[in-house]
């Protein structure tokens, strides 16, 4: 019999429940407030008292309100029909809620129970299978959605029967499996999985070796992220974290994008709802929404569900990864999740860590990032989850606990700099402080040099050096004055400015400039470094600034033009002429 209980105390969304039977940590329960049942999660148990966090407002709740325990942890429902949907943090389908305002205690089923799917079997009777094995496939938008042996099935099974090709609903039996003891178990298209546990239905996790193209030059060229890798974007408010993530969602090379809007603005989610169904996926020509799923728990939605939202998103990512797909998971902002943990930890009167965050914050963040990765499935197919989170450091100070914890867990660091954002140098990723650990991987270097250009990686490092030397020259000029330094310092500074203006800065709102394919990035870096390696003749420092501004201006017009179009080529020719004016030709 299910355990029940009664509300014994209420402090905001922390509720103490006196229970009459066994309860497990993280078990879900429902508190009945005047006939409305509010979903809650057990977070601490002391004797007969379960401390639960309520995923809703606790307004009007009373001591004595009845509580029913559900016998399971917070879980998601996995099956065809997740793609293109808009969920809240608990995987309720927001479109199924009719009212303008969210109704407390209204929970909607995440899948379409009436839809028929065209099923094609993959496995045959007699085959040996285990959790995650592909039994068949249905077409979901354009993805071959695999119907798998549920992740919760432990051990080996043999297939007794698989449904014939045909049209089925999600709850129809797709296969019958027999376990080692001869017990039969049926499989439908739907399974459930507790969000806090990682799905482990794969053979091995490999070191990432491939680059995931994002179309954002300052990432792809300077600090590339690996497919199956992890990265994070810390930055003060208004510096461009969300715009950058939306750009990744639009242009990154992935089969599926999952956007977890965690404790941020509703209007930003509305932007995705509104624009993605209209925008074309540049790679497939289909609409962007066809490859996107949104999990949104905006800042005014119940705080406890923020934590749930990132786990829900990750579990859905793991489900699709098990189908052999490349998933990009974006979470904006993981700081809001950490703050939700802090609010609860404080209410529980736990011993606080730095800035009153829970002591185990680092471990929680690290465990979460560890669920991403490039894996080889049991059937030897590769698949990946690339995860990029944003961090919103209090006061813009990168020494705060969430940034520091995340820095330990994520391999790419894209620090947004306030001065760059202030001077509209978007994306405001600081080229000197930011890094990608993947660039140091031998296998990644090999991949880049083979795929893009034999000299690619050395050229990337060269660009970083030029940027660094440019910044040093700029500082010297500021200390000693324009005429207090050799002209060469000005030249050095302006060469770094070319890289900045032409490669790093990118107009997120221009149709052409907003995304740059890697081939075009190769071309531009080649052109820019060509100039950086040349010497120019100047008689006074006053000539340096206007000359390089002309170069930069021509380059910018190129960035706004279709690659290799007549206009692009004409501008390239103009550039050649400008260079010829002052370039010093070495006889060698």
């Amino acid at each position: 019999m299910a355990t029940t209980g009664k509300v014994a105390g209420i402090i905001a969304n922390l509720v103490m429940v006196e229970v009459d039977g066994p309860v497990s940590q993280n078990e879900i329960c429902y508190i009945d407030v005047g006939g409305t049942k509010l979903m809650s999660e057990t977070i601490k148990i002391v004797g007969n008292t379960a401390y639960v966090q309520v995923f809703e407002s606790t307004r009007r709740m009373r001591a004595g309100n009845p509580v029913e325990f559900a016998g399971h942890m917070l879980e998601v429902t996995l099956g065809p029909g997740i793609l293109s949907r808009n969920y809240d943090g608990l995987q309720n389908d927001l479109d199924k809620m009719e009212q303008v305002f969210l109704q407390r205690g209204e929970y909607t089923y995440p899948l379409d129970e009436n839809k028929k799917w065209d099923f094609v079997p993959i496995a045959k009777a007699g085959e040996r299978v285990s959790a995650g094995s592909w039994l068949g496939e249905v077409k979901e938008n354009w993805i071959g959605h695999k119907i798998m042996v549920p992740f919760a099935f432990e051990g080996e099974y043999s297939i007794k029967s698989v449904a014939a090709a045909g049209s089925y609903g999600i709850h129809d039996t797709i296969a019958v499996l027999t376990d080692a003891k001869g017990q039969e178990r049926t499989v439908t298209m739907v399974q459930k999985w507790p969000v806090k546990l990682a799905v482990r239905a794969y053979k091995e996790k490999k070191r990432p070796f491939k680059i995931m193209e994002t179309g954002t030059r300052t990432i792809d060229t300077l600090n590339p992220i690996a497919e199956g890798g992890t990265g994070f974007i810390p930055g003060p408010f208004g510096c461009g974290k969300t715009v950058l993530q939306h750009s990744l969602a639009k242009f990154a090379e992935a089969d599926m994008i999952i956007v977890a809007a965690c404790g941020e603005r509703a209007n930003e989610v509305v932007e995705i709802f509104t624009e993605f169904p209209e925008l074309d996926d540049p790679r497939t020509g289909r609409k962007l929404m066809e490859r996107t799923t949104i999990i949104c728990n905006t800042s005014n939605m119940p705080v406890a569900a923020r934590e749930a939202s990132v786990y829900t998103a990750m579990t859905i990512a793991e489900y699709y990864r098990a189908m052999g797909l490349r998933i990009l998971l974006l979470a904006d902002s993981t700081s809001r999740w950490a703050q939700a943990l802090r609010e609860m930890s404080n209410r529980l009167e736990e011993l606080p860590g730095p800035d009153a965050f829970p002591m185990d914050l680092s471990a929680i963040v690290a465990n979460f990032y560890a669920r991403a990765g490039y894996v080889i499935l049991n059937n030897d197919q590769p698949a990946s989850i690339t995860f990029i989170g944003t961090v919103s450091p209090a006061g813009g100070n990168l020494k705060e606990p969430v940034t520091e914890s995340t820095k330990k867990a994520a391999r790419c660091f894209y620090a947004l700099a306030q001065p760059r954002a202030d001077s509209k140098r978007y994306p405001a990723i600081d080229p000197i402080d930011s890094y990608s650990k993947y660039l140091e991987y031998d296998e990644v270097q090999k991949y880049l040099n083979e795929k893009i250009h034999p000299e690619w990686v050395p050229n990337v490092y060269l660009s970083k050096d030029i940027l660094l030397r440019g910044r040093e020259a700029f500082e010297q000029i500021n200390i000693l004055g324009d005429d207090g330094v050799p002209i060469e310092y000005h030249e050095r500074y302006w060469k770094s400015e070319i890289i900045d203006f032409v490669i790093l800065q990118q107009d997120g709102f221009d149709k052409i400039d907003q995304s740059t394919p890697i081939e075009r990035q190769r071309f531009m870096l080649d052109r820019v470094l060509g100039i950086c390696k040349s010497s120019f003749k100047f008689d006074s420092f006053e000539e340096v600034n206007p000359y390089f501004k002309r170069i930069i201006n021509t380059f910018k017009q190129m960035n706004y033009s279709e690659f290799n179009s007549d206009k692009f080529k004409a501008l390239d020719a103009d550039l050649g002429k400008i260079l010829a004016e002052r370039e010093v030709v070495h006889a060698n």
Partner: protein, 444 residues
């Protein structure tokens, strides 16, 4: 305990602190309102049969045998047409000497709008102020604060914006408003003949600070009535949100909560978000736009109040005195409207985004030149030109006394570019240069 007309009455308080009192009571709902010794209070904690109440006007003088009456409902406000033209206190009681209104009682701080029932904002709010319309364009359904030091004329600018915005309804939420500022708003509204569009919920410096915690949600519940039930365009003005946050910290400190940065409660972000996220555009045409004031101390935006605000709102408008021209300007570096890209170049002329960005970039060059000058270095010809540009830009576009339409702002921008710079220095897309670069310039 006795009962009176369905209400339970108690008279044995077991604990009193500066902000709260506790007693044994049963059948009490969380967040329920109560009267303690004739003062309004709200349930903030229930442990078994022990109920803790936060008393809004403070606990001074409350005896242990004070009468405690539970009202059986969370905080409410009366909404209806009758609100128009009226001034109320934080509890919704008239302060304009006129009678109480009749209306439907609604809970304040209700649930949030389902994100899929929102519409993407796309309607520009013209204010005539170029520092806003040109550089930081506002859109209906947006939430944006003025960041200003206490000596800046933020309430005046906000009142000016409110009067020029074409809103069906303006709701003022005043928190810790000085009596002078309260009278200022009243006279602005009266002089503009706008009184029938105005509703005000005001907590002045003369009222207990904790009462102001009710003001934003009360004002926003009224706003939701007009936006949802009547499809009106509602503009909500909240001033000063810093004083609201100060009241939050008073309460949380008195209740022994662990403070986070700047002694603000750990839930400050969620608390502010529950207010600002009420800004919304509905498909039916109704909308709530929130313009707020967050006063700063010494321009410090890293303090927890402006910092959390900045992470929630859709930009901020930064007021600063430009000593070069002796006027208050909307600072183009630190100000931002995040929704501007939904309208600029779409609802306004196509050159708007690029003119805006180029001007700010050149203004930044001028700031660098100024630093150079202050460090005693010679200025280049380009530096000199940026400084001349900056002064004219500041005077004719950034100053808050500018009142022109957006096309005029853009034309002014092009005039300034061509007067001081070459096309290459301005660096705008070729097509736009060809179309808009004034003919009688240095580089034709």
């Amino acid at each position: 305990m006795q009962t009176k007309a369905g209400q339970k009455i108690y008279s044995k308080i077991t604990q009193i602190t500066k902000a709260t009192c506790s007693l044994q009571a049963s059948g009490v709902g969380y967040e329920e309102m109560a009267m303690v010794h004739g003062r309004l209070a709200q349930v903030v904690k229930i442990v078994g049969d022990r109920v803790t109440l936060q008393v809004f006007s403070g606990t001074e003088g409350i005896p242990t045998n004070a009468e405690v009456v539970f009202l059986g409902h969370p905080p409410m406000v009366k909404v209806g047409e009758e609100l128009a033209g009226r001034f109320f206190d934080a509890y919704g009681k008239p302060i304009d000497g006129k009678p109480e209104i009749n209306g439907e009682e609604r809970e304040i701080g209700g649930p949030s709008v389902n994100p899929v029932r929102r519409k993407q904002p796309s309607e520009l709010i013209a204010t005539g102020i170029a520092g806003i319309d040109l550089n930081n364009t506002l859109v209906t359904g947006q939430k944006i604060p003025f960041f200003a030091d206490p000596d800046q004329p933020y309430n005046q600018v906000m009142a000016m914006v409110a009067m020029r915005a074409k809103a069906d309804r303006i709701i003022l939420g005043g928190m810790g408003l000085s009596n002078d500022d309260y009278l200022f708003f009243k006279s602005v509204f009266e002089n503009a003949g706008a009184l029938d569009r105005i509703i005000a919920f005001v907590n002045t410096t003369e009222n207990p600070p904790v009462e102001r915690l009710l003001v934003p949600q009360t004002a926003l519940t009224a706003a939701e009535y007009f936006a949802v039930d009547r499809n009106e365009k509602v503009l909500v003005l909240l001033t000063d949100m810093t004083l609201y946050c100060d009241a939050l910290s008073i309460v949380s400190n008195r209740m022994d909560q662990i403070p986070s940065k700047d002694s603000m409660p750990g839930a400050l972000y969620s608390d502010l978000a529950s207010i600002y996220e009420k800004a919304v555009q509905f498909p039916s045409g109704g909308s709530i736009t929130i313009i707020a004031v967050t006063t700063l101390s010494g321009g410090d935006i890293t303090h927890a109040i402006p910092d959390n605000t900045g992470y929630i709102t859709e930009g901020q408008l930064f007021l600063r005195r430009d000593t070069d021209i002796g006027k208050v300007i909307v600072d183009p570096f630190r100000s931002l409207s995040r929704l501007k890209q939904l309208v600029i170049g779409k609802k306004t002329r196509v050159d708007h985004p690029q003119v805006m960005n180029a001007a700010v970039r050149l203004y930044a060059d001028a700031a660098n030149a100024r630093t150079k000058m202050e460090n005693g270095f010679d200025l280049s010809d380009y530096d000199e030109r940026t400084l001349r540009f900056a002064k004219e830009y500041s005077n004719s576009l950034l100053a808050i006394d500018v009142n022109v339409d957006v096309d005029t702002m853009l034309d002014t921008g092009w005039k300034l570019f061509s007067r001081h710079f070459t096309q290459a220095e301005v660096g705008i897309k070729q097509e736009l240069m060809q179309k808009f670069w004034p003919a009688e310039s240095r580089e034709g």
